[in-house]
Symmetry: D2
Subunit: 442 residues, 4 copies
């Protein structure tokens, strides 16, 4: 315990009545909810890049937050200190997982070989820390957007040399993820898009991207990496348009390029809203397709047009997400990754604890609420009843692909004008608020 001395001991569950800011009100790791512990349900992960490496920079100012581990002149030494700080933080917080990009845990070297050596050295240290602490890797990924060479894209760069660099990075990151036992590998293509359509061959770039993904899965098979591949949709920023715009776009891409079987989606809340969707819409879109793999839980400001990556504190949105997760029987190999950073002005390490505690409690409470909602069955009964007509003969003929237009015209004429049935949105909003505010969760 060296970097977080103001947190004397691991954060504990103290229940809703506590006023201790360094305690959980709802996250009780070992509490059973429907046969599994909260820890098993929620599979929280800390995002290495934001929590360990984030220093509050924004477009109008460089680093503002000083971390005691981000010091010294040798980048590999710094990386080692950062790794130690990371596991100290994970342990104090009590999260079971973390996620990283290659460049988060190890600095890029002067050559590809040197970069690989740096990564391997840090991976060894991480493996040791994982064994010591029991904290595991949820997923790994490669940072294919920060280095200037990726300005015009990585897999979608007009220059195959850049594509090849990206390939080298992904290879090493896959090796690292396999060694560290990661249950998934994520592709987030922040620069896989365009800034101007006039200098871009969009058809070709999409094919390049597909080829890149196929290569990655082939290599994973070769090295025996059995984790889940994930694509994380985002509509834009830094690009004007990103090819992985939203869940529906990525699902179409997977179908088009024969990548369906090997990939699932990693849905991020803030990316959902930037794309003009609610978080729950994106979660539902992925879930319905059987492709809800993992979640990046954060929050965007509803009135800001960029990726604010705030910690999730919105109960209603978290409940909706947990509802869909429970509906599909859990996240399996995925988890809830805090792709969120403290505000530029949250200068202290203690702010990192407040932030994660708030997020964990929000989702822990959401799990309890969603579980209660499911057990009560109120919403499910309502929806089932609403579509009851489609379980009757003509409804079944329609869904079975047997009905024809002329047949339906005759039937409609016989039925007469259908009654206007209220969708009861206001009632359902009240039901939700009952669960959010009035239901005892004991």
């Amino acid at each position: 315990m060296r970097y977080f001395a103001d947190v004397k001991k691991p954060i504990q569950f103290e229940g809703p009545d506590t006023r201790n800011p360094l305690a959980f009100r709802f996250y009780d790791a070992s509490r059973k909810v429907g046969g599994k512990t909260m820890r098993q349900h929620l599979r929280f992960a800390v995002a290495y890049w934001h929590t360990l490496r984030g220093t509050g920079g924004d477009p109008f100012g460089g680093p503002a937050i000083e971390r005691p581990w981000l010091t010294g002149s040798d980048p590999v030494d710094t990386a080692e200190r950062t790794l130690d700080a990371a596991f100290e933080f994970f342990t104090l917080l009590g999260v079971p997982f973390y996620c990283f990009h290659d460049r988060d845990i190890a600095p890029e070297g002067a050559t590809i070989a040197e970069s690989r050596q740096n990564l391997e050295r840090l991976v060894k240290r991480a493996a040791r820390r994982q064994r010591e602490t029991g904290v595991k890797l949820l997923w790994g990924t490669a940072n294919l957007f920060s280095h200037p060479r990726y300005t015009h894209g990585a897999a979608t760069n007009p220059d195959p040399r850049v594509f090849a660099h990206a390939a080298a990075q992904v290879r090493a990151a896959l090796d690292a993820t396999r060694v560290l036992g990661g249950t998934g590998y994520v592709f987030w293509g922040g620069r896989e898009g365009y800034s101007s359509l006039w200098n871009t061959d969009m058809a070709r770039e999409r094919e390049q991207l597909a080829r890149f993904l196929h290569m990655a899965t082939a290599y994973a098979d070769e090295i025996g990496f059995r984790g889940q591949f994930l694509i994380e949709p985002k509509p834009k920023e830094p690009s004007v348009h990103q090819y992985d715009y939203d869940a529906a776009t990525v699902l179409g891409f997977l179908r088009e390029f024969d990548l369906w079987d090997r990939f699932a989606l990693n849905i991020e809340a803030n990316h959902a809203t930037l794309a003009g969707h609610t978080f729950e819409h994106e979660v539902a879109t992925a879930a319905i397709a059987g492709k809800l793999g993992s979640l990046d839980i954060n929050r965007g400001h509803p009135l800001l047009g960029w990726d604010t990556d705030q910690f999730p504190t919105d109960a209603a949105s978290a409940v909706a997400a947990m509802f869909w997760i429970l509906a599909q029987g859990g996240l399996r190999r995925g988890g809830l990754n805090f792709d969120a950073h403290v505000r530029r002005g949250s200068f202290d390490t203690i702010d990192l604890f407040h932030a994660h505690i708030g997020g964990m409690d929000t989702f822990a409470r959401a799990l309890l609420v969603a579980d209660r909602m499911r057990r009560d069955g109120v919403l499910k009964r309502f929806v089932t009843q609403r579509y009851a007509g489609f379980r009757k003969p003509m409804g079944r003929r329609i869904l079975g692909g047997k009905a024809t237009l002329p047949e339906l015209e005759d039937w409609a004429a016989k039925q007469g004008e259908p009654p206007r049935v209220s969708g009861r949105e206001e009632y359902l909003e009240n039901v939700l608020n009952d669960y959010l505010y009035a239901t005892r969760l004991d």
Copy 2:
């Protein structure tokens, strides 16, 4: 000539120097551009609903515009007068096409049978007017969103009786479109979406929609309708979320539900921007997939969050659209439909002429500019050069699916750090402005 007495004769081409507001500056129907006339290239269509039936209503006020043809107490008589006014307008304006919904040209009756009779009566009259004037039907469609029964969706309604009503309407609209020689049939699903996810079975509703579309194509085959089926994406409004969100979403839907071969897209400019895309992005997305069927040319206000459906006057956007259309060899069976209405305060019939003339000139000029750009080849050469590396051996291996990650790592290491090649966006913007403002189009 009875309804538009202030327009004495058909609008004529008078060239860029005219100051006659009732003349074309750029649209010269018989002018040849690359082997086809402007008329053949542009295939302009008037939207019956806005131009003939629009009366300026908005959420804060009912009808404000009084049309001399929208009078009288018998709706069928009114519909006949409206049809006569329509063809008078088409002829005065000199457009080759129009588009309609069933309810635009004929009123809904008390029963399905009566609605069909009304429609058939008006279709006969329309067929006669078409023969007399030479004006043709570009595409037809059914209005499945105005009647209260469609509040919770048409094909995606929870009640199969509503689904059946919609089926009856589509059958009649397909019959009408076939009789009138329409080259296309459009599905625009304004209420095929949801207002609240909590009362919605999205998976089921998407299946219902797919079944509906399959039924329509089966019926088209049965009656020998050979026109192109089109889906028009829109993200929302009146719904909170519409299943046909954008081009990429619809393309994924067509793949998922085995509708790929029979459908193309009808891209609307204002729907593109509501979905967070540029018009040209949506046009390009459809074109690349071989699915750019037809366009609804209008414009949304960049700072307003609803479908303002203004007439297209933006040269840069029109040029981009025409560039993609020329690149795919034209619109074939599609056209450029003015899905736009005059502002609520444009009370006079003359405003309809200003609006369409402005839109036609914008696209006529855009055709000339895009054609010149293509013939000069400046942009194409730039893009070809930019991706030159992918025509060299390793680029070809990558695109051919032969390269592997380890192989690319080795190659990247040998190549060293790739040079940073400017994307030249600012230069390209200047080139575009050269074409837009400085190029002689004689």
Copy 3:
């Protein structure tokens, strides 16, 4: 009890544990909170236009909801039935206030005189119903946006004849408001703005608007109307730009045109978000200026760009509003008006009850939470401490207007680099969530 037969008796408080959808969980009218009853604190009002006259129309469909009172061919008879239904509803719901536009309660006649007669007739009936039920008028207003004559504005119309029509309406509406004992009169200028800047003399129109407001206050003085005048900001829709854009803009307008003393603001949540602000920002902006007069409580969908006017169900936003209201000692003559309508598909009168109950409970709970927060003083202490430096000598010199740049340079040099003090946003978010979810409100 004739129009709402499915609600047998007035809605009662049953507490958080009830599962009766037609009961209040938190709104307990006579419960004391800090010396006043909930009824006195919250001063809820029903919006006559939405609740009684709304029929679910939207830009893609006309009326969809059928109300038993909106029947018959004589508009004055209909208006009388509607009024009776209104007071039945108010009484069943148990709200103390309502708000109306002139045209909500009485139809426009063929002439100004006839319109006035209609209004006077209905006002008499309303006065009688008020006496019978104890329900009061919170504020009145004139509808200066629905009639086609107001398409280009009312007070800001280019034609003084339209201005004069608007003046006539406001006169009658002020008379009506006075007779009915309204505690306020609201100006909402939906069409006091522009659609195109090119046909608009914005300087002149703003002056016209100022003249109009001065005339109204002069007339109010003349007739002895002592209610509060309110302006309700909105940025746009139906206009492209509305002169009363947001709270700050209106405050500037009041200063510029010497209207400061006579006006306060009526802040609407949905208008706030359309203007790019949070609700609480607008509430705070008005409160700081001493101009927070009244609130229109509703909610916009965060991802939709138009005025969805949904019922308020968001606890966090309601708590923020109540916090500012308590800070200024209450709403005084203002109230909380439900400027919200049920969704188009909420066809039944029972949906109106669900909607209002949900909104009332949301704000009742918010009152309890905000009161608890204030009594605990946690937030206030935090903020006070944060600005402590400005209560020390140099801080006081600065705020007192005595410090100079050279003096501050010297002082800064002596102080050295200031410490970086965390803003503790994440901690404060957790504190808020404690109050929202974990605090017992008994």
Copy 4:
């Protein structure tokens, strides 16, 4: 000529037919337009921060662009080289002005005194370069947002020590601006706002800001700086809310805090659109108030929610701005500052030339178009005619503050229903496009 060797000689005017990318098509500095040269009309300025110091960083990557002058380990040496490069660039481009922040031209030192020394040293060099080249300073400003100490605001920081630091910087920046003969001094308060309302005392912070501005003007008087003070509105980013939200908000602020006489506005296009306005709306709002001081000409992407600061290439928007500028008789002491940067992927110095040439040509052409529009008087006549009723007796009574509601009611009754007069928006859009595309500008 050392840093821009690929530009052999100053950029020349070659006219619209040239295809030389390094020439002006429309900007002909000495061409007379209505009595003044283009150079005098447009008063272009280069933004030192973007053009000399910008290196393409964005939230997903650090510097990507390497400039030959941004090298070396001594920051003052680097600053000197940068200054030399700057004047070389200004001269090659042929702009008469530049703008800077203190930290652009001289590095911050370890102490306030050292910072001042650095600045003074560079100011001497700048003064020499100004004399040598004839290039002048348009305006100066202080960077009060990049350093971590300003994270919670500069003038609006909760800590008076930070306020004092900001004061020291502004003092030195005012001294520098005076020495260099700047005609203006700008306040842009990127962090003068809040991230969370819950930790913010907005009333107090606005007062602090007002005090700060008063101090600055007092100091300016003391040192005899006679330049124009400007506030540049922006709604948000990096803040969630900035106090100088938009033109109307700032005008209200100036009135409230007795700053009206000493300040004008610097309107930026991209800030306008981020605030939900068009550029021309903000320009018009400032102009009407007599407060249009200067412009930052750039452009935001209409679909992106952050400050993309692209170079201005949109003709319609530029024409509208120039129209308002000509209407008020020019910019006087203000100018057109390119607050714009090349895209991250525009790696070469030549891209800086393309960018500025495109922007200068856009505004030069806009000047010609706006001047022609004014001389023709078409728009002015239309608007004058539209409001003609307000020059008749009753209109004059209204504007003169003499009319009353009762009097207007009588008059309205006598006039009868006003005619519905079209606003002719579509016609006006065509007129604009005539000027933009079809008018010869010889």
